[in-house]
Symmetry: C2
Subunit: 458 residues, 2 copies
Amino acid sequence: MKMTNEIPYKIYLEEQEMPREWYNVRADMKKKPAPILNPNTLQPVTLEELSGIFCEELAKQELDDTTPYFSIPQEILDFYKMYRPSPLVRAYCLEKQLDTPAHIYYKFEGNNTSGSHKLNSAIAQAYYAKNQGLKGVTTETGAGQWGTALSMACSYLGLDCQVYMVKCSYEQKPFRREVMRTYGARVTPSPSMNTEIGRKINAEFPGTTGSLGCAISEAVESALSQDGYRYVLGSVLSQVLLHQSIIGLEAKAALDKYGIKADMIIGCAGGGSNLGGLISPFVGEILRGEANYDIIAVEPASCPSLTRGVYAYDFCDTGKVCPLAKMYTLGSGFIPSASHAGGLRYHGMSSVVSELYDQGLLTARSVEQTEVFKAAQTFARIEGILPAPESSHAIKVAIDEALKCKETNETKNIVFGLTGTGYFDMVAYQKFNDGEMRDYIPTDEELRKAIDTLPKIN
Amino acid sequence: MKMTNEIPYKIYLEEQEMPREWYNVRADMKKKPAPILNPNTLQPVTLEELSGIFCEELAKQELDDTTPYFSIPQEILDFYKMYRPSPLVRAYCLEKQLDTPAHIYYKFEGNNTSGSHKLNSAIAQAYYAKNQGLKGVTTETGAGQWGTALSMACSYLGLDCQVYMVKCSYEQKPFRREVMRTYGARVTPSPSMNTEIGRKINAEFPGTTGSLGCAISEAVESALSQDGYRYVLGSVLSQVLLHQSIIGLEAKAALDKYGIKADMIIGCAGGGSNLGGLISPFVGEILRGEANYDIIAVEPASCPSLTRGVYAYDFCDTGKVCPLAKMYTLGSGFIPSASHAGGLRYHGMSSVVSELYDQGLLTARSVEQTEVFKAAQTFARIEGILPAPESSHAIKVAIDEALKCKETNETKNIVFGLTGTGYFDMVAYQKFNDGEMRDYIPTDEELRKAIDTLPKIN
């Protein structure tokens, strides 16, 4: 522990203090997340089956719920050193503005060209693919954050990268597309005419602007139909949470360095990759009876899988080609309202996060987007970072909690995850600046309909 | 000095190691830059005259060529702590890719929401304005980098910020505009109907998309016509170089910490704010006879003020309302070809940098933009940062020099300034990705014509 009373604005770990292992929180869970199922047999998927879709090492990581630590290969550590450690920032200016006795810290993952934490898993997934001698990987991307991260990782390793980008994003977000192309990725608007499923959808729905579900199906088909290719995914999976544990491990090391004990950990939750990664080592301490933390998952009111979904087996993709997972879900047919501005639009939630939630190890809260953008603006103006809409969900609740501390006069240590920057989200910010942003909360009837699309195996 | 042989990927200074003074290189110059002139009297401008345009403390800094160090006020130091120190990065991956014995370092100024080094001076200028009890500041912006930085600084301090944005940029770069608006700035497309000069230009040239020169004139008029307002500028001025010396001071402190002696310092040069700031402390050592460095300014072949301009008194703005400066210039009537993609399009060069260049303390090189974007792409793919087109001029020459070291087998320490990120420059990247980018070198005849616009006072 550092012998200083003065906590700097930003805590950077030294290179030799950076974690050299990922932490697998499943190993410390007495009740494990339910196994993922083969969509054809509805039986727990085997390593062999999974190795057809993912490269072998990743398939192993996906199925391993007992090994607590995985060594991070040196090549990945070297890549991490280019943009990590990410700073743990003490939000002195925000605290002053809120006039709160709380101490607010945020782990900022946006200082890299992908603009988010996604790079942490992209490099891992690309590395194992390369290491297995594969030629390339395929994936889908919606807004483009994950696609950008994967393009960067593949370009660094000399791996081919094929991205199916939801057609409306491809057309409306040309800048993200160009970043991917600059990194050498082949970006195809989905549905395309390259795949059977794409041709089928184009024939059935002429002029469709695509969906994430369709893009996943095209990416999977494309991987399966090319020699030396595998499919990769940027969230939801347990392997992704494993890689993202680097966020929480670094955050904890930075806190420990200054003898700070967090009281509350807050993260935004879409598929769960950031939240799961941030909270893993802290949850591990709870599970081992070593410490206690209030952990809060924040999701959009327009896509409330934890707060209004059901805990059941569901398809991970609309095309129903991927394994099924038991998770908090709104049903794979659920599509958030078009007025919803940012990411966090996945119908389900990581099965690890879902199981932790079900066991009461974390609570969840849903927030409306105009409030989220108001928090984003406050934060941008006073802390100097323009946050991604996704990350701003966590900011909103961190501010709420800091204001509660003001009322109760408690000096809590609040830690939240600032997953990324909003430079490619200015269309949403413009709507907010122009006062044209609207909230939308799905009705019970809408949710019931979507939940009716759940497979009848529960 | 740190007792380690291992130089980390990124050298971060600790908070207590951060510079607390700016360095004014003019103090160590035996032959000083020529004084700036009042455009009406053509006599050296007085403090009183200058204080009508700039706030008083900044006017003092502008005219002071003898004080070597200026204390950085605590409020500015606190703001700096939010995004500084910026890392000095060892480009291990680039070195490996180039297979060069050279050691390459870059000082990365892009890790803040303005995306560039401009914030270093924006906060200083906003602070002194606030401190003088002013209500607000006015400025112009082309692509929007400076306008964004100033908006951030003003929003932090609670100062009104009025930005005249060149109309074609306002329309073509809505995202930059929205970032400024998110920070509460009032952004007006220029020429506007708010000012006399704007109305005049709109009447004379209906449908004009504006120019930087016109936007400057509108911003100055606007400041002069409102009580409690002053005009601020993001480059060229000596006060800006003073604030930007933080870049060089941090870089030098980081090198010293690991006992590294730079052999070569490379920076891109438009108005000179980044280059001047980066090289100041190193040039100071040369001037005091303490060390020697090869210093290279890199400019676009399409706007070659140092390599093909003349050293003479010229107008700093097209509207001819600002003081005249002696500088390397292409003539205030010079406008780079429309095919020129990035910034670095100013017709002149900081009078400090110009005088240092004239004294032979630095050399200059011009490079064509397709080569610059090729270097940018190489760098992005291997170092993981998507650079701004401006910064990529320095990357191009750093790579050239590293390859020369490979031929001669010399282990030189090359330091270059990576001023910013290219997230808002994807239109230019797209042109490059599509193979549609063209080079343009002005003919001697074109340059002669522009240089003919110089005032006849030299």
